[in-house]
Every structure is written in structure tokens, then in C-alpha cells.
């Protein structure tokens, strides 16, 4: 049964309470994106051009290959793939580390859960730049980690300035974003479902694989999104922990902005945005069918 007059009143309330947000969303979410597109497709004198876009795909550089030979590569493709690679690795590590953490927390006593989640969140309140800075102190060759390794006679680890350091920074900075959504799904999960699965003959692994994990997919998806998106576009972590030795796509955007090439910066941002939106749409479709098919 539907409800028409309530509907009418609801519609009025909905309109009223939505009005400020709708206006805001159009003005400050939608319109700015139009501006990104506008700047991406114009030159300095605001004339239409596709040059910025083509530059992203075609600009080349000559670099030294592994064997010392000179190779011509597409500059921004290299930057983009490296960003993607590091972001994906970070996301996977976050997921592999974060899922068990979330699972353990969700299965703990309610009081422990609260405390654990609070402590997971605390680092988020410390300034992100300062946090990253502290990692430099830990990871550098004469840093805390190496002192520790030396004390344990485990040799030396050269981490700072490598891609590994950037990955560590990303994992660290975005780790809570992975745990929190997974945790909230797992904590709300009906324990009777798990009992039912056991009852129907699943062992622990089976329950995890066939019941718990499929049911927690929505949390996993939002965790993956919330880690992947910021890692792909970061520019501070790569500068500090990567020792400035390589560019990520965020560095490229920031670099172009600082070099006063607003239009090209907008073009990179625009392309990144389009790629991410497509990827997210695909991911949503994939997981939707998974969730439906799996349960």
C-alpha cells in the first residue's frame, strides 16, 4: 500500500529540507566539475582546445632504461601507471591487514570493540603531514627501524626513498578508512546467519568464505574506495617518503598548478576523474552482482 497524502506532505517536507542541500550540491559539487572540464578543454586565452588532453596521452620523455640504454616513454602514462600500481598495492595491503583487524574487533566484547575503534581513529586526528613526517624519522637509513634491526642483528633495511616507503605511508595514512567500513558491516552482521551456516555443515573457513565475506562485501567496497581514491592522488606522501625521486599523478597536478599551467593541471585532473568514475561504476556493478549472486 502506498500513502498519497502523507506523500504530499512528505514531498513538501522533502522539498523544504532538501532545498539548501540541492542548491549547494549544484553550486559547489556539480558546477566546479564543469569548470574542471572547461579549463581542461581551453587554453590560456580561454579558447577551445584539446591540446591539454592529447598532451597527457602523447607527451614523451627519454629516460635511461634498466640496462642504461635510452628509451622513449609516454611521460604521463608512466606517471599514471606508477600511481595506479602503488595505489592498488596499498589498497590490497590495507585490505589484507584491515579485514582481519576489523573481523577480530567485530568479534570482541562490545566494550573492547568501542575502545579498539576509538584507537583506530585517533591517528586520523593527528595532522596528516606530521604523521607522514614522523614516518621519515622511522624509516630513514639511520632511523628508528634500522636501529632496531641493528640491535637485533638483522642487518639493514633501505626503505626510505623506495616505492615501498610510499606504500607504507599510504597504508598507514589510509588504514582507518579501510577498517571502519568493514568493521561496521561485520559488527552489524546477524550472528544467526553464521550459526546457520555452521549448522548447515560449513567449517570456520567455509563460513568465512561463503557467508561472512560475501555479506561484508559492501563494507569492503567502500573501504577499497576510500583507500584507493586518496592513494592514487596523493602528492605529499610521495614527496616525503619517496624522497622526491618519482612523480605520482598528484605530484604532476600540483606541479602543473605551481608552474602556473592551470589548464593542463585541470586536464590531468579531468582525465583522472573520468577514469576513476568509470572504474567506480564498474566496481559497483561488479559487486552488486556479486552480492546478489553470492547470497
Amino acid at each position: 500500500m502506498s500513502r498519497a497524502p502523507r506523500e504530499r506532505r512528505n514531498a513538501r517536507v522533502a522539498r523544504l529540507s532538501l532545498a539548501p542541500y540541492s542548491v549547494w550540491a549544484v553550486l559547489f559539487i556539480v558546477v566546479p566539475l564543469v569548470f574542471v572540464a572547461y579549463y581542461a578543454f581551453t587554453d590560456n586565452s580561454m579558447r577551445f582546445t584539446t591540446e591539454n588532453i592529447t598532451k597527457f596521452f602523447t607527451a614523451t620523455s627519454t629516460v635511461l632504461g634498466e640496462d642504461g640504454s635510452q628509451q622513449v616513454v609516454r611521460t604521463y602514462m608512466v606517471i599514471f601507471w606508477r600511481s595506479l600500481k602503488l595505489a592498488v598495492i596499498s589498497t590490497v595491503i590495507c585490505l589484507l591487514l584491515g579485514y582481519p583487524t576489523a573481523y577480530i574487533i567485530a568479534r570482541a566484547a562490545p566494550r573492547t570493540q568501542k575502545t579498539a575503534i576509538t584507537f583506530i581513529m585517533i591517528p586520523m586526528w593527528m595532522n596528516f603531514l606530521i604523521r607522514t613526517y614522523a614516518w621519515m624519522t622511522i624509516l630513514q637509513d639511520t632511523g628508528l627501524l634500522n636501529h632496531l634491526l641493528a640491535a637485533l642483528h638483522l642487518g639493514q633495511a633501505h626503505i626510505i626513498g623506495t616505492e615501498a616507503a610510499v606504500v607504507i605511508g599510504m597504508v598507514y595514512d589510509y588504514f582507518p578508512y579501510m577498517i571502519l567500513p568493514i568493521y561496521s558491516v561485520l559488527a552489524k552482521m546477524d550472528t544467526r546467519l553464521i550459526e546457520a551456516a555452521h549448522d548447515l555443515g560449513c567449517n570456520n573457513v567455509g563460513v568465512l568464505r561463503r557467508v561472512i565475506f560475501p555479506l561484508s562485501l559492501p563494507g569492503v567496497v567502500s573501504g577499497v574506495t576510500m583507500v584507493l581514491i586518496p592513494s592514487i592522488s596523493t602528492f605529499y606522501i610521495s614527496q616525503k617518503l619517496g624522497n622526491g625521486k618519482f612523480f605520482l599523478i598528484g605530484d604532476a597536478i600540483e606541479g602543473q598548478y605551481v608552474a602556473n599551467n592551470l589548464h593542463f593541471a585541470a586536464a590531468i585532473a579531468f582525465i583522472l576523474m573520468v577514469i576513476l568514475l568509470i572504474a567506480m561504476a564498474l566496481m559497483k556493478r561488479f559487486t552488486d552482482s556479486c552480492v546478489r549472486g553470492g547470497v
Binding site: M1, S2, R3, A4, P5, R6
Partner: protein, 372 residues
């Protein structure tokens, strides 16, 4: 008796689908009125119209003679006990019950006194500080009633309030509701799809189907004198067969002409004949007005419920005598066991027990109701 609420030619549609179709209904002071019908019949919508949660598309809702179509709920002297009680989870028992009084800004001492009184009435004294989430279903029910009654509305609307309770509790609550209604003198408008509940509690029953009122009457009228096949079938068990009125007090069905107590039909008018299962007597074959073969026997405790095939039409008969399956038996009907109804759109749709599945029907009813 004074009319409190009148519905005048009220219609209502949702998304083009008619839910109420020109309803006229009078509700009197101090009566216990039940809206009875299967899910989707419009009974809840009728209740919501009275409560002010819906406005009619056409027609009027009158309160003590005044049109209240557009009066919002908080300005109506009508309160509701919601299907799942709608107790405020952030308030305890006392605060839930005191809610309307606080809204009226009564002095604190008065509020306390009234709440105490009301909790006593619903037998919840001592539960004042209890968190409502920690009450049992029956207790929550009482809080909901207390809360709805505390501001002394003229009319209390109850939307399937007993649906969530188990059978035993339900019976007790039915009685208790009746007592509360008597004690307070407030008009109760009760919505249910459970005919037994309706029969046992109400002063007046309004049977509804497909957005129309099928019959209004006392429980006894409704049971004994159903106006059409729908009512006959919905209230209690009925065998409904096609018949022809030969003359006043004489009706032919199943190949036999019976004496009956009905009159006023035209000669040879086709009619629906209702025979309640408990009104059929089993007799030896030779004394039987009708004869048939027993196709199933179910033991029900007080009686057996047997299905008898009479000329291909399956009858249900309730009897204390034991008969065997496949046994051929004779059936005897007293004239007052036969009730004649005019043909209606429901003729031929009910009253045959060839695919007996009443329990299943009710189950699915209850489910769809809960889904609403």
C-alpha cells in the same frame, strides 16, 4: 446514541489504484467498532483517514458533525495505537505515557498523577522508569494504549494492535481492551483481519473488502445473517451453494427442495445458500435429505471436521460423531440452518471446500499484512 465520526462518501486512491470506494460509515459514542477484512481491503486507510494521517480524495470526514478533512492529527481528539506500538525508544515508560500531557504543558504534579492513574488502569504500576525496549510485547502494548488514552481522546484507533502477540496473550488482551473500553467510555475503532477477534470484542463489526463496506452489524447479525458470499465466507466457515428460491420459505439446492425461514425473493430467483458446518446433522442414509461420500476426516479436539462430496460439491461439516472416510452418509438440515442471500459479485467465489486451505490463506494474510 450520538454520532462521533461520520465518513460521507469517502474515496481514496493511491497511484491511481482505488483503495476506498465511496465509503459511508457512522461511528457512535462509546462503542467498540471493528473494521474487519483481508489485507488490502482499505481498513487501515479508513483508520488513517480518521486519525488524520491521510486526507480523502473526495467525500468528507466529520467529527461531531464538523468537517475535519484538513485538520492535522495533533489537532484531532483522536489517538492511535500503532501496529508496532511506535513507542519512543529514547523515553522510558513514564515519559512515553506523559508525552501528550507534556505537549499540553500541564503542571508537573498533574502529569504525575494522571500517568500513575493510567498506568494503574493498564496494570503497569511500578514500571515507570523502565526502558520501553526492555518490556515484553504485551507490556509494550499496554504502554501504547496508556499513552494513547492519557489525554482522554474521544476516539481511540487501534491498528492491528494484537498482531504481534502470541495466542494466549492475545485472548487476554482482547478481554482487557474490552474492559478498558467499558471503563473509559471512549469509542474504540479497532482494525483486524482476525474474524474471531472481531466477533469476541466488538459491539459493531464493519466488514470490508476491495475498498467497500460489505456489511455493518453486530457480531451475531454478521455471523447469522451474512449479506453476501464474501461475508459468509470471511466470518466463520460456510458452505455456499447455488440455489433457486421456489417461493417464500422454499428453496432448492443440491437437487433437493428445503424448507427455510427466508422470504421476499422473486419466484425462481437464483440465490446463494449458506449452510454453516456446525448446523448440518449427520443421519442414517435413509433419513438424509442429501447424501454424500466422506472424503476426509480431521480430528479437531471438540469435534471432527469432515469433508463430504455431495454431487461433486465439497461440503464441510463439523460433527461430534465419528464417520469413516469413503463412508456414504445422509445429511439433515433444519429450516433455520439455511440462510439465503441475494446473488452478488462474490457468488461462486467462495464456499467450496474442494481445495481446503483456510489455514494457509490466513498465514499468507498475516504475512502480507506484516509486510505493509
Amino acid at each position: 446514541m450520538k454520532k462521533i465520526i461520520e465518513l460521507r462518501d469517502v474515496s481514496k486512491a493511491f497511484d491511481g489504484e482505488t483503495v476506498l470506494d465511496h465509503i459511508d460509515l457512522d461511528i457512535y459514542d462509546n462503542e467498540f467498532l471493528t473494521l474487519l477484512g483481508p489485507s488490502g481491503c482499505g481498513k487501515t486507510t479508513t483508520l488513517r483517514l480518521i486519525g488524520g494521517f491521510e486526507t480523502p480524495d473526495s467525500g468528507d470526514v466529520l467529527f461531531l458533525g464538523a468537517r475535519i478533512n484538513d485538520t492535522p492529527p495533533h489537532k484531532r481528539s483522536v489517538n492511535t495505537v500503532f501496529q508496532r506500538y511506535a513507542l519512543f525508544p529514547h523515553l522510558n515508560v513514564f515519559d512515553n505515557v506523559a508525552f501528550p500531557l507534556r505537549e499540553q504543558r500541564l503542571p508537573k504534579t498533574e502529569i504525575e498523577e494522571k500517568v500513575r492513574e493510567m498506568l494503574a488502569l493498564v496494570k503497569l504500576t511500578g514500571f515507570e522508569r523502565r526502558n520501553v525496549a526492555r518490556l515484553s510485547g504485551g507490556q509494550q502494548q499496554r504502554v501504547a494504549i496508556a499513552r494513547a488514552l492519557i489525554s482522554r481522546p474521544r476516539v481511540l484507533l487501534l491498528d492491528e494492535p494484537l498482531g504481534a502477540l502470541d495466542l494466549k496473550l492475545r485472548k487476554d488482551m482482547q478481554q482487557e481492551l474490552k474492559n478498558i473500553q467499558k471503563a473509559t467510555g471512549i469509542t474504540f475503532v479497532f482494525v483486524t483481519h482476525d474474524q474471531e477477534e472481531a466477533l469476541s470484542t466488538s459491539d459493531t463489526i464493519v466488514v470490508m473488502a476491495e475498498g467497500r463496506i460489505q456489511q455493518i452489524g453486530t457480531p451475531i447479525d454478521i455471523y447469522n445473517e451474512p449479506e453476501n458470499a464474501f461475508v459468509a465466507d470471511f466470518i466463520g466457515e460456510s458452505n455456499i451453494v447455488d440455489g433457486v428460491m421456489r417461493a417464500d420459505y422454499r428453496v432448492t439446492f443440491s437437487g433437493h427442495t428445503f424448507a427455510c425461514v427466508d422470504k421476499g425473493f422473486q419466484k425462481n430467483e437464483p440465490v446463494d445458500v449458506v449452510v454453516r458446518p456446525e448446523d448440518v446433522d449427520i443421519v442414517p442414509l435413509e433419513r438424509g435429505m442429501l447424501r454424500g461420500v466422506v472424503t476426509s476426516v480431521t480430528f479437531m479436539g471438540v469435534h471432527y471436521e469432515i469433508i463430504v462430496d455431495i454431487n461433486g460439491f465439497k461440503w464441510m461439516i463439523q460433527t461430534t460423531d465419528f464417520v469413516d472416510v469413503d463412508e456414504e452418509i445422509g445429511l439433515y438440515l433444519e429450516p433455520d440452518a439455511i440462510h439465503i442471500m441475494k446473488k452478488s459479485e462474490y457468488s461462486g467465489m467462495f464456499g467450496d471446500y474442494s481445495s481446503f486451505s483456510m489455514e494457509l490463506d490466513e498465514l499468507s494474510d498475516a504475512e502480507s499484512e506484516a509486510d505493509e
